[in-house]
Symmetry: C2
Amino acid sequence: MARDLRICFVGDSFTAGTGDPTGAGWVGPVLAALRADGVAVTGYPLGVRRETSLDIARRWYPEVRARLRDGTDHRVVLSFGANDVSAPTGRPRVPQERTLDVLAAVLDEAHAAGWPAFVTGPPPAPGDGAQTGRALALSAAMAEVAAARGVPFTDLAAPLATDPSWAEAVRAGDGIHPDVRGYRLLAGLLLPPLRAWLG
Amino acid sequence: MARDLRICFVGDSFTAGTGDPTGAGWVGPVLAALRADGVAVTGYPLGVRRETSLDIARRWYPEVRARLRDGTDHRVVLSFGANDVSAPTGRPRVPQERTLDVLAAVLDEAHAAGWPAFVTGPPPAPGDGAQTGRALALSAAMAEVAAARGVPFTDLAAPLATDPSWAEAVRAGDGIHPDVRGYRLLAGLLLPPLRAWLG
């Protein structure tokens, strides 16, 4: 039976492609590139705006379960943390240690369900040094949680924090989300490790 | 406060854009057209392959509830029936009266939740006259269920059953789903009534 790959992309507004008028975000170009590679892939975009890891923890399992019944190769891409490290009232919405607990629990559940996982963290917030600092620290810690489970992790905060194109794309967007150029940057960072993970 | 429109697109593989290598399906072009109209719209694509109305009935509410918390204008587009009228073992997967019961129940729940709804039915199945006949009959009956609740319904089966471009697009696709041209046909049929519904 031919490989019939199904991937759920679970995340927040960056996964939903908020601010990209084409709606493709980074998930769209990644799926298009995989199809151009000759991979028959079904992608289920499950990004929801404003969600923290705690919100995602509540809904991810039933949503993924409903989508990964057919096919022969079922996988999950997890992308969160941007809202956890945001601090609309002066304090991060979710403390780092709580985000890490959630990540560990979700990865253990995915493993138990037989779904290989891939994790990526929050992008930096241009113009907000404190939030970018929290995104960098959280990403480094998420990488450790993932590595301890043999799960690949891609850090978006570290490469983009010093990339003027990212800052420019966010300025051209709504100030939080980038325009389409920023989503292409995210896709460019994620595609090589996703290809390696898919084998 | 500016209108902040959020629409969940609940459906099956046709809503998921299966067979369109760009991944856009009909939801992508519809959202792009609305944004080009100047509407700030967040679209949540919730199509799942192989699902009948019974599968959709089980998951639609929690999935939509999780997505329609923010924003000022929350709506739901429902699109199902193609798998109900398919008959892989000789008998339709869901009898028509059961599909209609589900549609009525979902519309009543959406109304109670305060989410205006828009409904569309199954496309025809070129090369399978019996299934196309069931799609036509189901669509006519779904239209009545929707009309009784003041909900707009768009029939895809009737206009496409006699359209050679649809048959050609399905032949060029996987035999069930169309290629990208067929998804453009669906978007072309759905965009005018969706625009009218959105006001």
